[in-house]
């Protein structure tokens, strides 16, 4: 038996892929998360009200999602309903996170695979590639910076936000601040569209070269989205069956009845399944399950995507294209919200803490994120973090096996496999700090 180990880069955190093969047959393809800090343990005994500042430290990439999931879990336990304006400000935080994340995944993590580079910061070998790189890197960072600036504006801090508090948010957004953020986003919208057009073109070229969009086995899809225009997140988790119909829908509180959750002995990340069957979360799930948004550029890309690949689409390299549509969506949606008054009403309601169980649900860039806290005497005695990347672990390993079968034959391993492994994993944009926490 031969074991081939692939270290991974251009993803968040430390992971590797291990493929075991014998005579050209694939015995196993494992995705191993290699770090662990133990948040489920270390938060035990923490005063519940401190969770929204502690749990963003699970991950500096997805901190906004954890910040909001924590606040919502407490609000669920305390039975608090927040004022509409607070909901708007929180949506802006999520959108800022989405802009930053999708831009990073597209233009920093996965574009080098489409351009034959090791990173977007590397000098390219040829002048023409250098020109493209030069055009892209600076602008890509400008786009992702707009996301960070939006998180700072709505969330108060640029990596680990602090403005969401139980009952609402600490403050609204003043008209002049909203206007200047809007201007910034209006400037980067055409930039983002240009970058995305380059990205699509390079993706089609990659498809030509390798002859596949990757693993396209139909699977279940999971997301918690409402209507696409008015709310990125909802209080229900929805599951779509492989043929494209919504087959299940449930609140976070009931997730154990619908999803199977298991630890594995070869990875510090767990995995979930839909009653034992493979599911996919993240951008492709949302584009498969979503509707037209009523936003000009978003709908242009959505229709182009659905026309080309169908609905639902299954091939995993389409995750990256779906991610690009969401980048446009987040920019356009934010511009629209920033036209509304954001400091004209109360941003919070009073509340009384109480003991019990609270569940928070956020549609993070990588899919549905659930925080569950059990609170006794004001202290968290038990916590569960159900991480979006964990929903995708089975699908990642399935896609790795498909890639391995393509490039491993008796007596030969095609060196394209190393690149394929990178492309497969990055398509899912896994976050290892979150997945292990």
């Amino acid at each position: 038996m031969t074991t081939i180990t692939f270290p991974l880069s251009r993803i968040e955190g430390h992971a590797q892929v291990v493929i075991e093969t014998r005579n050209g047959e694939i015995n196993s393809a494992h995705f191993q998360a290699m770090e662990l800090r133990g948040f489920e343990y270390l938060v035990q005994g923490t005063p519940a009200e401190q969770m929204p500042v502690i749990v963003p430290r699970i991950c500096g990439v997805c901190s906004t999602a954890h910040h909001l999931a924590a606040v919502e879990a407490l609000e669920d336990a305390y039975e608090v309903t927040i004022p509409p304006l607070a909901g708007k400000i929180r949506e802006l935080m999520i959108l800022g996170q989405l802009i930053q994340n999708q831009a990073t995944s597209l233009f920093v993590f996965t574009l080098p695979d489409r351009m034959g580079l090791t990173s977007m910061f590397e000098e390219a070998a040829s002048d023409s590639a250098e020109k493209v790189r030069g055009q892209i890197t600076g602008r890509a960072l400008q786009v992702r910076k707009a996301g960070t600036d939006l998180i700072s504006l709505a969330g108060g801090q640029f990596i680990h936000p602090i403005k969401a508090v139980v009952g609402g948010v600490t403050s609204g957004i003043k008209p002049d601040e909203a206007a200047s953020m809007r201007n910034q986003l209006e400037e980067i919208l055409p930039l983002a569209c240009e970058l995305i057009d380059i990205y699509w073109e390079k993706s089609y070229q990659l498809r030509e070269r390798i002859g596949t969009w990757g693993d396209d086995e139909p699977g279940y899809y999971i997301a918690s989205i409402g209507g696409r225009e008015d709310n990125f997140y909802s209080d229900q988790i929805m599951v779509m069956a492989p043929e494209g119909l919504i087959c299940d829908s449930f609140p976070a509180r009931e997730f154990h009845d619908h999803l199977d959750f298991e630890e594995t002995d070869y990875s510090y990340a767990a995995r979930t399944s839909y009653q034992g069957k493979m599911m996919r979360a993240n951008s492709l799930a949302r584009v498969n399950m979503g509707e037209e948004s009523g936003l000009e550029h978003t709908d242009r890309y959505l229709i182009r995507f659905w026309d080309a690949f169908g609905k639902p689409a299954h091939a995993i390299l389409l995750y990256d294209l779906a991610r690009s549509i969401e980048l446009v969506y987040a920019i356009e949606r934010t511009i629209r919200i920033l036209h509304e008054p954001l400091d004209n009403e109360d941003t919070d309601v009073p509340y009384s803490p109480r003991d019990g169980d609270g569940y928070g649900l956020v549609e993070a860039p990588r899919g549905p994120l659930i925080h569950h806290y059990h609170i006794e005497n004001g202290l968290v005695t038990e916590a569960e973090f159900i991480i979006p990347t964990v929903h995708n672990v089975m699908a990642i390993e399935h896609a790795l096996r498909v890639a391995a079968e393509r490039y491993i034959t008796p007596g030969k391993v095609d060196m394209e496999l190393e690149k394929a492994v990178g492309r497969v994993v990055r398509a899912f944009d896994p976050c290892i700090a979150c997945a292990t926490h």
């Binding site: 880069s9 251009r10 968040e12 430390h14 191993q32 290699m34 770090e35 662990l36 800090r37 133990g38 948040f39 343990y41 270390l42 938060v43 035990q44 005994g45 923490t46 005063p47 401190q50 500042v53 502690i54 430290r57 699970i58 991950c59 500096g60 990439v61 901190s63 407490l74 920093v108 090791t118 990173s119 977007m120 910061f121 890197t137 600076g138 960072l141 400008q142 910076k145 960070t148 700072s152 108060g156 801090q157 640029f158 990596i159 602090i162 403005k163 508090v165 139980v166 009952g167 609402g168 948010v169 600490t170 403050s171 002995d265 070869y266 919070d348 309601v349 009073p350 803490p353 700090a433």
Partner: protein, 282 residues
């Protein structure tokens, strides 16, 4: 151009994301290694090595020891590299034992008994505290420009108005929503420790209505002293500005959210460790 590398141990990538936000370095420095954004197998020879994250696994330790040999200067970035960070909240025996038992896996790097600061294992030239440090601070540390003046304390940068007539008698929780926009948070009854926390962060939390939790660690006045002197100073500020009982303040200061940062330069390293000198702090 100065060549630099970023080694990420067990952490959250927040420091790396903050560095990405400081776009200016792209034209001024050569990034040679940073697995978050590039495919590379090993740290090459560099002038500056930024290390983020704590030493949680044997593999972290191996990578750290290998990498520092290649660098002229080693900089510990963020709370996790400096103290082990948030993972240290699990240090209590009852939690840690269960955790380590449940964490056993086949074929994976073993976990060390605790998440260690990097300066227990290797020599550190400079410290860049913050959770995470701001992009400007990253630029300051890369340039190492002596003219870069960092504010003495968060309080100095914040500048919210003190209200002498407001003397709270009890602390408000961290999660109270209503915050008066222009009044010092201490006067409003929040446990803000910006008065003695190292500046340089633009006081973004307090100005957004959230009390400072001290992520930048103690200011120069306290960095070379025991953490008790920092505690005493916070007590003095509160007794000067409020009528909050000492015991109430003390137990709040020792709660996880604050102790995480308050003790980041304290005694994790064990006895006999030299203090971190203020000249080493950015």
């Amino acid at each position: 151009m100065k060549r630099f590398a970023v080694l990420q141990l067990s952490g959250c990538s927040g420091c790396e994301i903050a560095l990405l936000n400081a776009e200016e370095w792209i034209d001024q420095f050569d990034l040679e290694y940073m697995t978050l954004v590039m495919s590379a197998y090993d740290v090459p020879e560099v002038e500056v090595l930024l290390v983020s994250g704590g030493v949680r696994t044997e593999y972290d330790l191996y990578k750290l020891r290998r990498a520092v040999r290649k660098a002229d200067q080693v900089i510990a970035v963020g709370t996790c590299a400096i103290s082990g960070g948030i993972a240290n909240l699990g240090e209590r025996a009852e939690v840690n034992d269960v955790f380590l038992t449940n964490a056993e896996r086949l074929h994976l790097p073993d976990l060390l008994p605790s998440c260690r600061p990097i300066d227990i294992e290797v020599n550190v030239d400079l410290y860049l505290p913050g959770c995470p440090p701001t992009p400007e601070l990253f630029m300051a540390v890369l340039h190492r420009s002596p003219e870069m003046k960092i504010a003495r304390s968060v309080c100095q940068e914040c500048g919210l108005k003190k209200a002498r007539e407001m003397r709270p008698t009890h602390l408000l929780g961290f999660q109270q929503g209503e915050v008066l926009p222009d009044v010092c948070l201490i006067n409003q009854g929040y446990l803000c420790i910006g008065s003695s926390t190292r500046g340089g962060c633009r006081a973004m939390c307090t100005l957004a209505g959230y009390p400072c939790v001290g992520c930048r660690g103690p200011s120069d006045a306290f960095i070379e002293k025991e953490s008790q002197s920092w505690f005493d100073s916070i007590h003095r500020v509160f007794s000067h500005m409020t009528d909050i009982p000492d015991e109430e303040l003390d137990s709040a200061l020792r709660s996880p959210q604050l102790s995480l940062f308050l003790f980041q330069f304290a005694d994790y390293a064990g006895e006999g460790q030299a203090p971190r000198y203020k000249e080493q702090m950015v």
